[in-house]
Assembly symmetry: none
Homo-oligomer: 243 residues x 2
DNA sequence: ACTATACACGAACAAGTGTTCTGTGTCAAG
DNA sequence: CTTGACACAGAACACTTGTTCGTGTATAGT
């Protein structure tokens, strides 16, 4: 039947979606390798291949040899996405009149003895809880702000992470981490949540406390550990200054 | 042309203009060299120099090491150009932003071994340094925001206050404190700055570390201790989230 | 006169990034 | 079965782009 012409494949669609979201969020387009990562394609050449097709079909345009020069010409509409996007847009518009401030939903408390209430990957949870307002300039500029959520720390069990009772931690959901990142992990054998710096070593994982005077934990079996998210920020407020 | 302070120079203005026009036109931001050509600057380093100034003053934001990642935050109004839409947008942004977000000047670093650079009560020190932007909703409602200043913690010497290297602490100058407040004090006999909870007891002052596992310090003679300010907030950022 | 600071150039460097080439496997048409 | 279009990986390459460093100049303040 030799058709290929008309329909965009799933890949094409995912690229377009990623493109629009990325540009919306950061104001500039992703690199080829970033696109590859996002749509799970290993080689830059293949991304280029798809990009050329999209360009040929006038979905995007790009400038030869210029970095991050992709423009979206025809916004693609996946019915579901469009809706959720509008909702989150609206939410964002309401809570943050300006782009310079964002409101991060406060999802609950984080306690050592129970798993943290990670939002379902279906985010868009936007709702009744209170939010923590943070200037965007305080966050890494690339941060995907609509994934972020905040938790209030309960109890003193995380002092080895330099985190105190009442502190607020801002995190981003994640299942994996890179070396050196501060993550919230659930340890199966200890039955607890903890905050540690993450380091993958040869056949084990080292969890290093932020407090330099304390010793690391080693986890030999990857299955004994579940990464719940990466810590983006910690905020401690001293309210009592009003007297 | 010897000028430095607040006002943007002609160069700054030209850069902002070029930036907004370019982005408007192409949908992505120009490279440093392109900016240099446009404003007649021969060296990339000088463009970088101006760009850093603009970033510090929150006119733009950009991503380290990422090509063409400049975003315009505050549209500049060149009397001639001013696009009417941008004006009203900007006007609105300014008015709403101004009271929901405040910029706290970053005065320097706080090190255990030296007194903190408390601003002279002559506040009007106003900037040239960079600021830490914080949503007003995170501060106690009665806080006198124009007295606040921020310091970046240097070194691990304050881990007993649950404060780490690189943390940012927001404080308000003060010479006295009430019980239970977190203060920055200079200890004459030890020759160091430290952060502790303040408690006045019968004939002495108890300085209690935030870390509940550590022991307090007692100061018998009030003159051996100088309160530099009250801690309002501590912020810890984890930058390394490069996905 | 001396110093500190802001402004400026240019070159070298390193990282980011797009392009190209070679090779592999799949699948449907001939 | 063979062929050829297609989807894909990987690596090498080359160009683009941001960063850093050494140097120089002018001006203001001491």
């Amino acid at each position: 039947m030799a058709r290929k012409k008309e329909g965009l494949s799933e890949r094409h669609r995912k690229i377009m979606e990623y493109l629009t979201e990325f540009i919306e969020e950061y104001g500039y387009s992703p690199s080829i390798r970033e696109i590859g990562d996002a749509i799970d394609v290993k080689s830059t050449s293949l991304v280029d291949y798809y990009l050329n097709q999209l360009e040929e079909r006038k979905y995007i345009s790009r400038e030869g040899r210029i970095s991050r020069s992709i423009r979206v010409l025809q916004p693609i509409r996946s019915a579901t996405k469009a809706l959720s996007k509008q909702i989150s847009d609206a939410a964002q518009a309401v809570t943050t009149a300006v782009d310079s401030i964002i409101s991060i939903p406060l999802r609950g408390r984080i306690v050592a003895s129970t798993p943290i209430p990670v939002p379902p990957s279906d985010f868009n949870y936007f709702d009744s809880e209170s939010g923590v307002e943070i200037a965007r300039s305080l966050l890494p500029a690339r941060e995907k702000i609509n994934e972020l959520f905040a938790l209030e720390v309960q109890g003193d069990s995380m002092i080895d992470a330099m985190v105190n009772d009442g502190d607020i931690i801002v995190m981003r959901p994640a299942q994996q981490a890179s070396n050196g990142e501060m993550v919230a992990v659930w340890l199966d054998d200890k039955d607890e949540t903890t905050l540690k710096y993450f380091y993958k070593e040869n056949n084990r994982i080292r969890l290093q406390p932020a407090n330099p005077t304390m010793d690391p934990i080693y986890v030999e079996n990857t299955n004994d550990l579940r990464i719940m998210g990466k810590v983006v920020m910690v905020i401690r407020q001293y309210k009592n200054t009003v007297h």
